[in-house]
Protein backbone atom coordinates (compact mmCIF):
# COMPACT_ATOMS: atom_id res chain seq x y z
CA UNK A 1 0.00 0.00 0.00
CA UNK A 2 1.38 3.34 -0.94
CA UNK A 3 2.08 5.57 1.98
CA UNK A 4 1.23 9.16 1.44
CA UNK A 5 2.82 11.67 3.74
CA UNK A 6 0.54 14.44 4.79
CA UNK A 7 2.79 17.44 5.13
CA UNK A 8 1.56 20.82 6.17
CA UNK A 9 2.32 23.33 3.43
CA UNK A 10 3.88 26.35 5.10
CA UNK A 11 3.59 28.64 2.10
CA UNK A 12 1.65 28.81 -1.13
CA UNK A 13 4.77 27.74 -3.02
CA UNK A 14 5.00 24.75 -0.71
CA UNK A 15 1.41 23.86 -1.46
CA UNK A 16 2.00 24.08 -5.19
CA UNK A 17 5.08 21.83 -4.95
CA UNK A 18 3.13 19.24 -2.95
CA UNK A 19 0.25 19.37 -5.40
CA UNK A 20 2.63 18.81 -8.31
CA UNK A 21 3.94 15.73 -6.54
CA UNK A 22 0.49 14.36 -5.73
CA UNK A 23 -0.71 14.85 -9.29
CA UNK A 24 2.23 12.94 -10.76
CA UNK A 25 0.07 9.92 -10.20
CA UNK A 26 -3.07 9.45 -12.27
CA UNK A 27 -5.10 8.34 -9.26
CA UNK A 28 -6.37 11.22 -7.23
CA UNK A 29 -7.21 10.76 -3.58
CA UNK A 30 -9.80 13.47 -3.11
CA UNK A 31 -9.53 13.50 0.65
CA UNK A 32 -5.76 13.84 0.51
CA UNK A 33 -5.93 16.85 -1.80
CA UNK A 34 -8.68 18.43 0.25
CA UNK A 35 -6.71 17.99 3.47
CA UNK A 36 -3.53 19.40 1.99
CA UNK A 37 -5.33 22.46 0.66
CA UNK A 38 -7.11 22.99 3.93
CA UNK A 39 -3.83 22.65 5.84
CA UNK A 40 -2.32 25.67 4.11
CA UNK A 41 -2.98 28.71 6.30
CA UNK A 42 -3.83 31.49 3.93
CA UNK A 43 -1.21 34.25 3.92
CA UNK A 44 -2.33 37.16 1.74
CA UNK A 45 1.28 38.33 1.26
CA UNK A 46 1.88 35.16 -0.73
CA UNK A 47 -1.08 35.38 -3.07
CA UNK A 48 -1.90 39.08 -3.24
CA UNK A 49 -0.07 39.44 -6.54
CA UNK A 50 -2.53 37.07 -8.20
CA UNK A 51 -5.65 38.53 -6.62
CA UNK A 52 -6.89 41.11 -9.10
CA UNK A 53 -10.36 42.31 -8.24
CA UNK A 54 -12.80 43.80 -10.70
CA UNK A 55 -15.53 46.25 -9.79
CA UNK A 56 -18.25 44.63 -11.85
CA UNK A 57 -17.83 40.89 -11.41
CA UNK A 58 -15.67 38.14 -9.98
CA UNK A 59 -12.38 37.32 -11.69
CA UNK A 60 -10.39 34.13 -12.39
CA UNK A 61 -6.66 34.47 -12.04
CA UNK A 62 -4.44 31.59 -13.12
CA UNK A 63 -1.68 30.73 -10.68
CA UNK A 64 -0.24 27.43 -11.93
CA UNK A 65 -0.89 25.03 -14.79
CA UNK A 66 0.09 21.91 -12.87
CA UNK A 67 2.12 20.32 -15.70
CA UNK A 68 -1.13 19.91 -17.60
CA UNK A 69 -2.66 17.78 -14.86
CA UNK A 70 -4.53 20.55 -13.09
CA UNK A 71 -5.25 24.26 -13.15
CA UNK A 72 -4.74 26.25 -9.96
CA UNK A 73 -6.35 29.66 -9.86
CA UNK A 74 -7.49 32.36 -7.48
CA UNK A 75 -10.99 33.76 -7.79
CA UNK A 76 -11.65 37.27 -6.48
CA UNK A 77 -15.17 38.13 -5.44
CA UNK A 78 -16.24 41.70 -4.77
CA UNK A 79 -19.22 42.48 -2.56
CA UNK A 80 -22.34 40.77 -3.88
CA UNK A 81 -20.55 39.03 -6.76
CA UNK A 82 -21.83 35.59 -7.67
CA UNK A 83 -21.52 32.92 -10.33
CA UNK A 84 -24.02 31.08 -12.48
CA UNK A 85 -25.16 27.63 -11.55
CA UNK A 86 -22.60 25.49 -13.33
CA UNK A 87 -21.16 22.01 -13.76
CA UNK A 88 -17.53 20.89 -13.79
CA UNK A 89 -17.16 19.05 -17.07
CA UNK A 90 -16.26 15.68 -15.48
CA UNK A 91 -13.41 17.18 -13.49
CA UNK A 92 -12.55 17.38 -9.81
CA UNK A 93 -13.06 20.82 -8.31
CA UNK A 94 -11.46 21.89 -5.03
CA UNK A 95 -12.24 25.31 -3.63
CA UNK A 96 -10.39 26.75 -0.63
CA UNK A 97 -11.27 30.08 0.98
CA UNK A 98 -8.27 32.39 1.20
CA UNK A 99 -10.12 35.44 2.49
CA UNK A 100 -13.66 36.18 3.57
CA UNK A 101 -16.53 33.76 3.12
CA UNK A 102 -18.44 32.26 0.21
CA UNK A 103 -21.93 30.85 0.02
CA UNK A 104 -22.20 27.60 -1.90
CA UNK A 105 -25.63 26.41 -3.05
CA UNK A 106 -25.91 22.87 -4.44
CA UNK A 107 -28.51 21.99 -7.06
CA UNK A 108 -29.75 18.77 -8.59
CA UNK A 109 -29.14 18.28 -12.29
CA UNK A 110 -32.30 19.43 -14.06
CA UNK A 111 -34.31 16.96 -16.11
CA UNK A 112 -36.61 17.57 -19.06
CA UNK A 113 -39.55 18.35 -16.83
CA UNK A 114 -37.72 20.84 -14.65
CA UNK A 115 -39.30 24.16 -13.87
CA UNK A 116 -37.45 25.69 -10.94
CA UNK A 117 -34.19 23.87 -10.32
CA UNK A 118 -34.15 21.90 -7.10
CA UNK A 119 -31.83 23.18 -4.40
CA UNK A 120 -30.11 20.43 -2.47
CA UNK A 121 -28.24 22.33 0.21
CA UNK A 122 -26.52 25.57 1.06
CA UNK A 123 -23.60 26.41 3.26
CA UNK A 124 -21.25 29.24 4.08
CA UNK A 125 -17.61 28.30 3.67
CA UNK A 126 -15.24 29.93 6.14
CA UNK A 127 -11.72 31.19 5.55
CA UNK A 128 -9.25 28.32 5.04
CA UNK A 129 -11.99 25.75 4.59
CA UNK A 130 -11.73 23.61 1.43
CA UNK A 131 -14.80 22.29 -0.39
CA UNK A 132 -14.94 19.66 -3.10
CA UNK A 133 -17.41 18.99 -5.89
CA UNK A 134 -17.69 16.97 -9.06
CA UNK A 135 -20.55 16.37 -11.48
CA UNK A 136 -21.83 13.35 -9.56
CA UNK A 137 -22.52 15.61 -6.56
CA UNK A 138 -24.61 17.93 -8.68
CA UNK A 139 -24.24 21.55 -9.72
CA UNK A 140 -23.47 24.59 -7.65
CA UNK A 141 -23.62 28.34 -7.47
CA UNK A 142 -20.95 30.21 -5.54
CA UNK A 143 -21.41 33.76 -4.32
CA UNK A 144 -20.01 36.34 -1.95
CA UNK A 145 -23.05 37.19 0.11
CA UNK A 146 -21.29 39.96 2.01
CA UNK A 147 -22.09 43.58 1.25
CA UNK A 148 -19.01 44.86 3.02
CA UNK A 149 -16.17 42.37 2.52
CA UNK A 150 -14.40 40.95 -0.50
CA UNK A 151 -13.55 37.27 -0.73
CA UNK A 152 -10.81 35.30 -2.44
CA UNK A 153 -10.71 31.56 -3.09
CA UNK A 154 -8.11 29.12 -4.39
CA UNK A 155 -9.46 26.65 -6.95
CA UNK A 156 -7.95 23.46 -8.26
CA UNK A 157 -9.48 21.75 -11.28
CA UNK A 158 -8.28 18.38 -12.48
CA UNK A 159 -8.13 17.69 -15.33
CA UNK A 160 -8.19 21.31 -16.50
CA UNK A 161 -11.22 22.35 -18.60
CA UNK A 162 -12.04 25.34 -20.79
CA UNK A 163 -15.76 24.99 -21.21
CA UNK A 164 -18.64 24.11 -18.97
CA UNK A 165 -22.41 24.44 -18.81
CA UNK A 166 -24.36 27.14 -17.04
CA UNK A 167 -27.94 26.66 -15.97
CA UNK A 168 -30.89 29.00 -15.62
CA UNK A 169 -32.37 28.46 -12.18
CA UNK A 170 -35.96 29.20 -13.21
CA UNK A 171 -36.10 26.83 -16.15
CA UNK A 172 -33.15 24.46 -16.06
CA UNK A 173 -32.18 25.77 -19.49
CA UNK A 174 -28.47 25.27 -20.13
CA UNK A 175 -25.76 26.94 -22.17
CA UNK A 176 -22.26 25.80 -22.95
CA UNK A 177 -19.80 28.55 -22.21
CA UNK A 178 -16.12 29.13 -22.70
CA UNK A 179 -14.11 30.05 -19.62
CA UNK A 180 -11.47 32.74 -19.64
CA UNK A 181 -8.89 34.22 -17.30
CA UNK A 182 -8.70 37.78 -16.03
CA UNK A 183 -4.99 37.30 -15.42
CA UNK A 184 -2.34 34.64 -15.72
CA UNK A 185 0.60 34.24 -13.36
CA UNK A 186 0.00 37.71 -11.98
CA UNK A 187 -0.29 39.47 -15.37
CA UNK A 188 -3.55 40.91 -16.58
CA UNK A 189 -4.67 39.23 -19.83
CA UNK A 190 -7.15 41.73 -21.28
CA UNK A 191 -7.34 40.35 -24.80
CA UNK A 192 -8.47 37.00 -23.61
CA UNK A 193 -11.21 38.17 -21.33
CA UNK A 194 -14.22 39.94 -22.64
CA UNK A 195 -17.32 40.75 -20.74
CA UNK A 196 -19.27 38.01 -19.12
CA UNK A 197 -22.65 36.69 -19.87
CA UNK A 198 -23.06 35.10 -16.51
CA UNK A 199 -26.58 33.97 -15.75
CA UNK A 200 -26.93 34.96 -12.13
Amino acid sequence: MEQTEVMKPETLDDLIKILHKIFESDNINVEEVQNIMEAYDSNPQEWMKFAKFDQFRYTRNLVDEGNGKFNLMILCWGEGHGSSIHDHTDSHCFMKLLQGQLKETLFEWPDKKTCNMVQKSQRILQTNQCAYINDSFGLHRVENASHTECSASLHLYSPPFQTCQTFDQRTGHKNTVKMTFWSKFGERTPFETTVSQENN
Partner: protein
Protein backbone atom coordinates in the same frame (compact mmCIF):
# COMPACT_ATOMS: atom_id res chain seq x y z
CA UNK B 1 -29.15 59.17 4.29
CA UNK B 2 -27.99 62.40 5.85
CA UNK B 3 -28.98 65.34 3.66
CA UNK B 4 -25.37 66.54 3.44
CA UNK B 5 -24.45 63.35 1.55
CA UNK B 6 -26.73 64.41 -1.25
CA UNK B 7 -24.75 67.55 -1.95
CA UNK B 8 -21.48 65.81 -2.83
CA UNK B 9 -21.49 66.65 -6.50
CA UNK B 10 -18.03 65.26 -7.15
CA UNK B 11 -18.65 61.97 -5.41
CA UNK B 12 -17.97 59.08 -7.79
CA UNK B 13 -18.59 56.09 -5.58
CA UNK B 14 -21.10 55.56 -2.78
CA UNK B 15 -21.34 52.29 -0.88
CA UNK B 16 -24.01 51.86 1.77
CA UNK B 17 -24.34 48.08 1.66
CA UNK B 18 -25.66 46.10 4.59
CA UNK B 19 -27.58 48.83 6.38
CA UNK B 20 -31.28 49.39 7.04
CA UNK B 21 -32.18 52.02 4.48
CA UNK B 22 -35.83 51.82 3.54
CA UNK B 23 -35.82 54.14 0.59
CA UNK B 24 -33.61 56.05 -1.82
CA UNK B 25 -34.23 59.80 -1.66
CA UNK B 26 -35.11 61.54 -4.93
CA UNK B 27 -32.26 63.98 -4.19
CA UNK B 28 -29.87 61.21 -5.19
CA UNK B 29 -30.01 62.87 -8.59
CA UNK B 30 -27.82 65.66 -7.16
CA UNK B 31 -24.83 63.32 -7.03
CA UNK B 32 -24.15 64.12 -10.63
CA UNK B 33 -20.67 62.54 -10.76
CA UNK B 34 -21.77 59.24 -9.33
CA UNK B 35 -20.47 56.16 -11.18
CA UNK B 36 -20.94 53.47 -8.55
CA UNK B 37 -23.90 53.13 -6.21
CA UNK B 38 -23.93 50.12 -3.90
CA UNK B 39 -27.12 49.74 -1.88
CA UNK B 40 -27.22 45.96 -1.53
CA UNK B 41 -28.53 44.42 1.67
CA UNK B 42 -30.93 47.12 2.84
CA UNK B 43 -34.71 47.31 3.20
CA UNK B 44 -35.45 49.31 0.08
CA UNK B 45 -38.91 48.76 -1.42
CA UNK B 46 -38.84 50.94 -4.50
CA UNK B 47 -36.52 52.76 -6.87
CA UNK B 48 -37.15 56.48 -7.43
CA UNK B 49 -37.24 57.47 -11.12
CA UNK B 50 -34.86 60.34 -10.25
CA UNK B 51 -32.09 57.75 -10.04
CA UNK B 52 -32.18 57.76 -13.84
CA UNK B 53 -30.81 61.31 -13.85
CA UNK B 54 -27.29 60.18 -12.96
CA UNK B 55 -25.54 60.38 -16.32
CA UNK B 56 -22.36 58.51 -15.36
CA UNK B 57 -23.81 55.72 -13.30
CA UNK B 58 -22.26 52.49 -14.54
CA UNK B 59 -22.54 50.13 -11.58
CA UNK B 60 -25.83 49.95 -9.69
CA UNK B 61 -26.28 47.38 -6.95
CA UNK B 62 -29.72 46.90 -5.43
CA UNK B 63 -29.55 43.22 -4.52
CA UNK B 64 -30.94 41.82 -1.28
CA UNK B 65 -33.65 44.42 -0.82
CA UNK B 66 -37.46 44.36 -1.10
CA UNK B 67 -37.91 45.94 -4.48
CA UNK B 68 -41.12 45.07 -6.30
CA UNK B 69 -40.70 47.01 -9.49
CA UNK B 70 -38.14 48.69 -11.70
CA UNK B 71 -39.27 52.05 -13.08
CA UNK B 72 -39.05 52.24 -16.88
CA UNK B 73 -37.23 55.58 -16.53
CA UNK B 74 -34.07 53.66 -15.63
CA UNK B 75 -33.70 53.18 -19.36
CA UNK B 76 -32.13 56.65 -19.35
CA UNK B 77 -29.04 55.34 -17.54
CA UNK B 78 -27.06 55.17 -20.75
CA UNK B 79 -23.79 54.46 -18.97
CA UNK B 80 -25.14 51.53 -17.01
CA UNK B 81 -22.91 48.53 -17.40
CA UNK B 82 -23.81 46.42 -14.44
CA UNK B 83 -27.15 46.10 -12.65
CA UNK B 84 -27.52 43.86 -9.63
CA UNK B 85 -31.10 43.06 -8.68
CA UNK B 86 -30.86 39.58 -7.20
CA UNK B 87 -32.91 38.61 -4.15
CA UNK B 88 -35.74 41.11 -4.47
CA UNK B 89 -39.48 40.83 -5.16
CA UNK B 90 -39.57 41.43 -8.89
CA UNK B 91 -42.11 39.57 -11.01
CA UNK B 92 -41.12 41.16 -14.31
CA UNK B 93 -38.96 43.93 -15.72
CA UNK B 94 -39.98 46.85 -17.89
CA UNK B 95 -39.57 46.26 -21.61
CA UNK B 96 -37.55 49.47 -21.76
CA UNK B 97 -34.62 47.66 -20.18
CA UNK B 98 -33.76 46.39 -23.66
CA UNK B 99 -32.53 49.84 -24.59
CA UNK B 100 -29.70 49.70 -22.03
CA UNK B 101 -27.26 48.84 -24.77
CA UNK B 102 -24.18 48.97 -22.57
CA UNK B 103 -25.61 46.65 -19.96
CA UNK B 104 -23.34 43.64 -19.66
CA UNK B 105 -24.02 42.32 -16.19
CA UNK B 106 -27.51 41.70 -14.89
CA UNK B 107 -28.24 39.57 -11.84
CA UNK B 108 -31.79 38.48 -11.18
CA UNK B 109 -31.67 35.26 -9.18
CA UNK B 110 -33.95 35.01 -6.17
CA UNK B 111 -36.78 37.05 -7.68
CA UNK B 112 -40.25 35.57 -8.22
CA UNK B 113 -40.11 36.23 -11.96
CA UNK B 114 -43.17 34.94 -13.78
CA UNK B 115 -42.53 32.01 -16.11
CA UNK B 116 -45.85 32.06 -17.88
CA UNK B 117 -48.04 34.92 -18.86
CA UNK B 118 -51.68 34.42 -19.49
CA UNK B 119 -53.49 37.34 -21.03
CA UNK B 120 -55.89 38.77 -18.55
CA UNK B 121 -59.19 37.03 -19.16
CA UNK B 122 -61.15 39.73 -17.46
CA UNK B 123 -60.51 42.89 -19.37
CA UNK B 124 -62.22 46.07 -18.24
CA UNK B 125 -63.26 47.58 -21.55
CA UNK B 126 -62.62 51.28 -22.02
CA UNK B 127 -65.43 53.69 -21.19
CA UNK B 128 -67.56 55.15 -23.98
CA UNK B 129 -65.77 58.43 -23.39
CA UNK B 130 -62.42 56.78 -23.97
CA UNK B 131 -63.63 54.91 -27.04
CA UNK B 132 -64.90 58.14 -28.55
CA UNK B 133 -61.67 59.92 -27.62
CA UNK B 134 -59.58 57.16 -29.20
CA UNK B 135 -61.50 57.37 -32.44
CA UNK B 136 -61.19 61.13 -32.65
CA UNK B 137 -57.45 61.05 -32.00
CA UNK B 138 -56.47 58.07 -34.12
CA UNK B 139 -58.54 59.13 -37.09
CA UNK B 140 -57.53 62.76 -36.78
CA UNK B 141 -61.10 63.93 -36.64
CA UNK B 142 -60.82 67.72 -36.57
CA UNK B 143 -62.28 69.59 -33.62
CA UNK B 144 -62.01 73.07 -32.17
CA UNK B 145 -62.92 74.88 -28.92
CA UNK B 146 -66.24 75.97 -30.37
CA UNK B 147 -67.23 72.37 -31.14
CA UNK B 148 -66.92 70.75 -27.73
CA UNK B 149 -66.95 71.79 -24.05
CA UNK B 150 -63.53 72.65 -22.63
CA UNK B 151 -63.44 69.73 -20.23
CA UNK B 152 -63.58 67.41 -23.23
CA UNK B 153 -60.89 69.46 -24.97
CA UNK B 154 -58.73 68.91 -21.91
CA UNK B 155 -59.52 65.21 -21.90
CA UNK B 156 -58.51 64.82 -25.53
CA UNK B 157 -55.18 66.43 -24.72
CA UNK B 158 -54.45 63.64 -22.28
CA UNK B 159 -54.23 61.00 -24.97
CA UNK B 160 -51.09 58.84 -24.78
CA UNK B 161 -49.62 57.11 -27.78
CA UNK B 162 -49.73 53.37 -27.63
CA UNK B 163 -46.22 52.14 -26.67
CA UNK B 164 -46.33 49.78 -29.61
CA UNK B 165 -44.53 51.77 -32.32
CA UNK B 166 -46.44 49.94 -35.04
CA UNK B 167 -49.78 50.90 -33.58
CA UNK B 168 -51.10 54.30 -34.48
CA UNK B 169 -53.55 54.12 -31.62
CA UNK B 170 -53.83 56.06 -28.40
CA UNK B 171 -55.21 55.35 -24.98
CA UNK B 172 -56.43 57.47 -22.11
CA UNK B 173 -57.01 55.48 -18.93
CA UNK B 174 -57.46 51.98 -20.20
CA UNK B 175 -54.47 49.90 -21.23
CA UNK B 176 -53.35 46.35 -20.75
CA UNK B 177 -50.18 44.86 -19.41
CA UNK B 178 -48.40 42.60 -21.83
CA UNK B 179 -45.47 40.36 -21.05
CA UNK B 180 -43.07 38.89 -23.55
CA UNK B 181 -40.28 36.50 -22.72
CA UNK B 182 -36.97 37.67 -24.05
CA UNK B 183 -33.41 36.35 -23.91
CA UNK B 184 -31.38 39.30 -22.72
CA UNK B 185 -27.98 39.90 -21.21
CA UNK B 186 -27.15 36.26 -20.65
CA UNK B 187 -30.56 35.50 -19.22
CA UNK B 188 -33.04 33.04 -20.64
CA UNK B 189 -36.65 34.10 -21.19
CA UNK B 190 -36.88 37.17 -19.00
CA UNK B 191 -40.44 38.41 -18.55
CA UNK B 192 -40.46 41.93 -19.94
CA UNK B 193 -43.60 43.98 -19.55
CA UNK B 194 -45.03 46.87 -21.45
CA UNK B 195 -48.45 48.40 -21.81
CA UNK B 196 -50.53 48.14 -24.95
CA UNK B 197 -53.64 50.07 -25.80
CA UNK B 198 -55.76 46.92 -26.03
CA UNK B 199 -55.46 43.12 -25.92
CA UNK B 200 -55.70 43.02 -29.70
CA UNK B 201 -52.85 45.44 -30.25
CA UNK B 202 -50.09 43.42 -31.82
CA UNK B 203 -46.61 43.87 -30.51
CA UNK B 204 -43.92 44.69 -33.12
CA UNK B 205 -42.23 41.34 -32.56
CA UNK B 206 -45.35 39.27 -32.95
CA UNK B 207 -44.80 37.94 -36.45
CA UNK B 208 -46.58 34.66 -35.77
CA UNK B 209 -49.67 35.25 -33.67
CA UNK B 210 -50.16 32.31 -31.38
CA UNK B 211 -53.45 30.65 -30.77
CA UNK B 212 -52.89 30.05 -27.10
CA UNK B 213 -52.75 32.66 -24.42
CA UNK B 214 -48.98 32.75 -24.05
CA UNK B 215 -46.75 35.02 -26.00
CA UNK B 216 -43.51 33.20 -26.68
CA UNK B 217 -41.71 35.51 -29.07
CA UNK B 218 -38.05 35.91 -28.41
CA UNK B 219 -35.90 38.83 -29.38
CA UNK B 220 -32.38 37.54 -29.67
CA UNK B 221 -29.43 39.68 -28.67
CA UNK B 222 -27.02 40.51 -31.50
CA UNK B 223 -24.08 38.12 -31.73
CA UNK B 224 -21.54 40.81 -30.99
CA UNK B 225 -23.04 41.21 -27.54
CA UNK B 226 -22.64 37.57 -26.66
CA UNK B 227 -19.51 37.34 -24.64
CA UNK B 228 -17.37 34.71 -23.03
CA UNK B 229 -18.10 33.74 -19.48
CA UNK B 230 -15.86 33.70 -16.47
CA UNK B 231 -16.72 30.91 -14.12
CA UNK B 232 -15.55 29.56 -10.84
Amino acid sequence: MPAQFLKLQRLQSLSLGGNRLQSIPAEIENLTSLELLYLGGNLITSIPPELANLPYLSYLVLCDNRIQGVPPQLTRLHSLRSLSLHNNLLTYLPREILSLVHLQELSLRGNPLVVRFVKEMTYDPPSLLELAGRTIKSRNVPYSPCDIPCHLLHYLDLASKCPNPKCAGVYFDSCVRHIKFVDFCGKYRLPLMHYLCSPECTSPCNSNPQSDAESEDEISVPADRLQKVLLG
